[in-house]
Amino acid sequence: MKHVSHEQLWNYARAELPADEVASVAEHVDACVACFSTLEDVRAAQRTLSLLPEPPPMPAALAHRVGSNLADALDSRQAQRWLSWFPSMPRWSWAALAVGSLAAAAWLAVHSPPVAVPPPPVVAEVVEPVVVPPVPALPKLTATVASAKHARSGTAALGKSQVVHEGSSLSTEKGGSLSPPRR
């Protein structure tokens, strides 16, 4: 006796078997212990599947958390994309870059026009205003010239050493004359 296929039993249990097959399967299952047992297992499996709940709506907080984490992952991925460009360069490319830079510098040194040295900048003399301290007032000397004649002769000597400033007048007690010292 040929057993009923698992596909037929599955569809029979779900009432999805074509009408022309239903009677023959039912007849076989009633007579075959093995197929009857398998049909029981199929029904148990289908009942297990039918008990699975409908998914609830996705919790908003969970959706937000996952979205934030994905945004962070995207940011770091983009940063890594930039960074990964450098280590991915082979060593020879770094050497080539260095040699190229040196060659460019040498070429520029040879072919660039001489640079005129500018004259040193003229530093303007800064004349600071001289602050002349005020001359202390000299003690006023009073001179009494005995006579104009003696004074003009200029032969008389001063009795005491005195500094005579220009424009000063000096007299001695003995009537000596004076003249301002010449520079």
Binding site: W10, P53, P56, P59, A63, V66
Partner: protein, 206 residues
């Protein structure tokens, strides 16, 4: 329709350009592929609910859902590098989400001590008023996840697409890049494996 023209790259690009005008998601995906982070953010905003539903169908109510969703979009970000705009973005997203979900179930099976199913997560827990019903639903979800984890990669993928997400064999053929008849036969074998796995897990099987 994004028919591949054999006249050269320019005609092919024009065909893709026309397709991107029709599908705004495709335009966003192409912009995101070219490094526009704003486009990727918008793509996430528009597709996140879909991705959430796919992952929830595959892994059930789990506190790992948030990490898995994030992982799915990181995978999408990487996968977009090879995106040429010739397939629907939702198709692309379904494939990534199912892969991430199945990988998670397999890794949980390999390291059962690290399971996080017992961790309460009130944020995304489905509301049920009947505790018995809630326990039954939870048990069913665990059974499906464990059964999926025991199945081979291609069978689990086809089973998830058809019996968890409700896709048609023609759509699955596009997703797994296989003929429709191959998908149908793979689906039948996957259902047989699933039945046996559930039976064993329930203690009924051989």
């Amino acid at each position: 329709m994004t028919a591949r023209l054999s006249y050269g790259p320019m005609h092919s690009d024009l065909a893709l350009l026309d397709a991107s005008r029709v599908d705004p998601l495709r335009t966003l995906a192409l912009q995101a592929r070219d490094g526009e982070s704003v486009a990727f953010t918008q793509l996430y905003e528009r597709t996140r609910e879909q991705a959430w539903r796919v992952l929830y169908r595959v892994v059930g109510h789990s506190p790992d859902l948030e990490d898995l969703l994030q992982e799915a979009y990181v995978q999408l970000m990487k996968a977009l590098k090879g995106y040429r705009g010739d397939s629907k973005v939702t198709t692309f997203l379904h494939r990534v989400c199912v892969n991430v979900g199945l990988m998670h179930l397999r890794s949980k099976r390999r390291r059962p001590e690290e399971t996080t199913d017992d961790v309460p997560d009130t944020e995304s827990a489905p509301e049920t008023s009947n505790p018995e019903r809630a326990a039954e639903v939870k048990q069913a979800a665990v059974l499906v996840q464990q059964a999926l984890a025991t199945m081979s990669d291609d069978k689990a993928t086809v089973f998830a697409y058809h019996d968890l997400l409700g896709l048609k064999p023609e759509e699955i053929a596009d997703l797994v890049d296989a003929p429709v008849n191959t998908v149908r036969s793979r689906l039948n074998r996957a259902r047989a494996d699933f039945t046996v796995a559930v039976s064993k897990l329930k203690g009924r099987g051989p």
